[in-house]
Subunit: 80 residues, 2 copies
């Protein structure tokens, strides 16, 4: 049985992204969240999914459908 909330971190490999990833993902409670990391620069097929989720820039964290844009690394329109 999996009752963890899914948290997906989208990034594009930029320095801002990596820095945010390390800080954010280290602070998330692993007992309650399942963390997925998607590199949109390498997984371009995921860009459409990210856009559909409401992501406008990366890095961004999607938790339970809510989008949190973190700082500003790159506009998603630059990625695909």
């Amino acid at each position: 049985m999996n009752t963890k909330t899914i948290a997906t971190f989208y990034h594009a490999g930029c320095p801002v992204c990596i820095s945010a990833e390390q800080t954010l993902l280290s602070m998330i409670d692993p007992n309650n969240y399942q963390i997925n990391v998607v590199h949109l620069g390498e997984q371009s097929a995921e860009v459409a999914t990210a856009k559909a989720a409401g992501i406008q820039s990366v890095p961004a964290l999607v938790i339970d459908g809510q989008v949190l844009h973190i700082n500003f690394g790159a506009a998603i329109t630059d990625l695909a």
Copy 2:
């Protein structure tokens, strides 16, 4: 002995802030982080501290000296 990392969430009571606060703070591992919340609209004396920490807009989360600006609610220059 307190070995927890301090995470300070700065906000100004705006809807974007409250939404981010609820999501972010619920996902932080309470075993490793001590969470402080500062409402800059009500605690204007803290604005100088926030600016010194590098905060440019709220909501923002400062963890171990690193500033993460979340989405965009209000520019800190509008708060004091």
